[in-house]
């Protein structure tokens, strides 16, 4: 791999070779596997990408709310590296896309300031041979489950890519005067509200920008996660994630749902 972020380690090529000879692996459940077959896709293999990334240091001002651009950049870069490697494994297999993508961050005891970013998913290919790659000619990625993928495909939408936006934000501490002033009162804390608001907005805007770049008509399954990682309570990463989709056909083949009352507990 060395410094070339495009390269994949040797063990990978050996594993992918086996997959090219007709074996498939997948972390999908049996339900998901069968549903994916149902919409005319076949799983090709379990793909993953990983990057162990050292995040730098940025000084924060005790009493000031601000975005920590260096940390934001680190979180972005590391995830991007992991995702690109995963996409590359998928492209090597000739996949049309990757479904059920999960992004994880691991911390190891031996590297307190380093985190491992992992992206895993199942590469799939259309059995009809029609390419379903996205606008950029890359396999699409999506964090939708097999069930969601099936439902989405029935309504004429197709995923374009997993889009994300992140923002690491430092929220100002309140001074003693402020704390005393608000003691015993019902009041909004405007500085906290504003900081959290702005951080979320930044993360979501960045996610939407990514979707725009893919020419998507919408983002489904958006999740907003807040994590402090290892930075203490006042520094929070806001991560928004979702699957960008485009409408490819107008015919909805979704059957009318049957309503049931299940009798189990």
């Amino acid at each position: 791999m060395s410094d070339d972020p495009q390269g994949l380690p040797e063990a990978t090529s050996h594993r992918l070779e086996e997959l090219e000879h007709g074996l498939f692996t997948s972390d999908l459940s049996v339900n998901e596997f069968l549903l994916i077959k149902e919409v005319g896709f076949h799983p090709l293999g379990f793909v993953m990408g990983s990057s162990i990334y050292h995040t730098g240091i940025q000084t924060r001002k005790w009493g000031q709310s601000q975005e920590l651009t260096k940390l934001t950049e680190a979180m972005y870069n590391a995830r991007e590296l992991a995702m690109t490697r995963m996409e590359e494994e998928a492209a090597e297999l000739g996949a049309d896309g990757v479904v059920g993508v999960r992004l994880d961050v691991n911390y190891y005891e031996w590297g307190k300031d380093a985190a491992e970013f992992i992206a895993v998913g199942t590469a799939v290919k259309a059995e009809s041979g029609v390419s379903h790659r996205n606008k950029l000619g890359k396999p699409f990625t999506s964090d939708l489950s097999g069930q969601d993928f099936w439902t989405l495909m029935q309504t004429g939408y197709i995923p374009q890519g997993l889009v994300m936006g992140t923002c690491v934000y430092h929220i100002a501490h309140r001074g003693l005067g402020q704390t005393l002033g608000s003691a015993g009162q019902n009041i909004e804390l405007p500085n906290f509200t504003q900081a959290l608001y702005e951080a979320r907005e930044l993360a979501m805007t960045r996610m939407q920008d990514e979707a725009d770049r893919l020419g998507a008509s919408g983002i489904v399954g958006v999740r907003l996660e807040e994590k402090s990682h290892q930075w203490g309570s006042h520094t929070i990463e806001f991560l928004s994630l979702g699957t960008a989709v485009v409408k490819t056909s107008n015919d909805v083949t979704l059957p009318t749902p049957t309503t049931i009352i299940s009798l189990d507990n």
Binding site: M1, D3, P5, L8, P9, A11, T12, H14, R15, E18, L19, G22, L23, T25, S26, D27, L28, S29, V30, N31, F33, L34, L35, K37, E38, P43, F46, M48, S50, S51, I52, Y53, H54, G56, I57, E73, A74, N77, A78, L81, N106, Y108, E109, W110, G111, A114, E116, V120, W150, L196, E226, L254, P255, T256, P257, T258, T259, I260, I261, S262
Partner: protein, 287 residues
């Protein structure tokens, strides 16, 4: 009253512990399923019904256990892969799978479904326990232990696969243990304030994960599988040696036995059950 009766009882015959142990060890190689005619299984009622709907029946709860020793001191210091640990892991699985095969065949089963895979890795040994329900087509004859399948899929999943023309073949497993690489103090200081990727770490972890998965794949290929479903990948440092990181992958190898994959044609349902939401005050805090 009960005491006096106990006192009146003849003294119990002393148990020959050695003989008992020998018998217990013997059953590992030649398992004796219980002589009961009734069946035992840990399947739910639903699962049993659904199995019957495709003409299969549960027979007996079967298990396979194997403990394999790890050489002293392998976890402590070194570079690259801890090959003896990886090998011990593979052997432990082999042993457990072999035993559950034989126990299943003895009970007259054609396969084991819903296998719980319990693995624990200790400093000096690795132990693997497999526990599942032996099943067979209703009234079918005994088969050879070599033709038994073992799968961690639930009976429901087994039925779904069966209906769409697929068959489970066995557990595909792979693992790889590595020492985490180290950074020299100079490099660590230099990188202290930077955003950089630690390429040697990335490479080591990446390669280890890949080789665990690659081993799983080759075991699936050996079984004649065309796919592995429900792959689980676990990873993390060992509790007793933080510098050793273990990666393990396992799943059920499957093969298409029907001529073509049979589509299931699912229908959409909207359950009208009460939503299971409650008010949680902690949620208001925004985590």
């Amino acid at each position: 009253m009960s005491i006096s009766r106990q006192l009146g009882d003849p003294p119990p015959t002393p148990v020959d512990i050695k003989a008992e142990l020998r018998r217990a060890v013997g059953t590992l190689h030649d398992p004796q399923p219980s002589k009961m005619q009734s069946m035992t299984s840990d399947l739910s009622i639903d699962e049993e019904l659904i199995l019957h709907s495709v003409g299969w029946e549960p027979i007996e709860l079967v298990c396979g256990v194997s403990l394999y020793s790890v050489p002293m001191g392998v976890w402590n210091w070194g570079q690259g892969e801890i090959t003896s640990a990886s090998a011990a892991y593979a052997r432990a699985f082999e042993g457990a799978i072999d035993r559950i095969h034989r126990e299943c065949a003895k009970a007259g089963g054609h396969g084991v479904v819903g296998v719980q895979v319990d693995r624990s890795i200790h400093r000096h040994h690795i132990d693997v326990t497999l526990l599942g329900t032996a099943v067979r087509p209703v009234g079918a004859k005994q088969v050879d232990a070599a033709h038994v399948f073992v799968s961690d899929l639930s009976a429901r999943d087994f039925t779904l696969l069966h209906v769409s023309g697929w068959q489970p073949l066995g557990l595909a497993v792979g693992a790889s243990f590595v020492y985490a690489p180290r950074r020299s103090i100079g490099v660590a200081l230099q990188q202290k304030s930077q955003n950089v990727e630690l390429t040697n770490f990335t490479e080591a972890m990446y390669a280890a994960r890949e080789s665990a998965m690659e081993r799983m794949q080759s075991s699936a290929i050996t079984m004649g599988g065309t796919g592995v479903v429900e792959v689980k990948v676990t990873e993390g440092p060992m509790d007793f040696a933080r510098h050793a990181v273990g990666f393990a992958a396992w799943g059920t190898a499957v093969r298409l036995v029907a001529e073509n994959h049979r589509p299931l044609k699912p229908s959409m349902v909207v359950p009208l059950d009460d939503p299971m939401t409650g008010f949680e005050a902690t949620a208001l805090r925004g985590n």
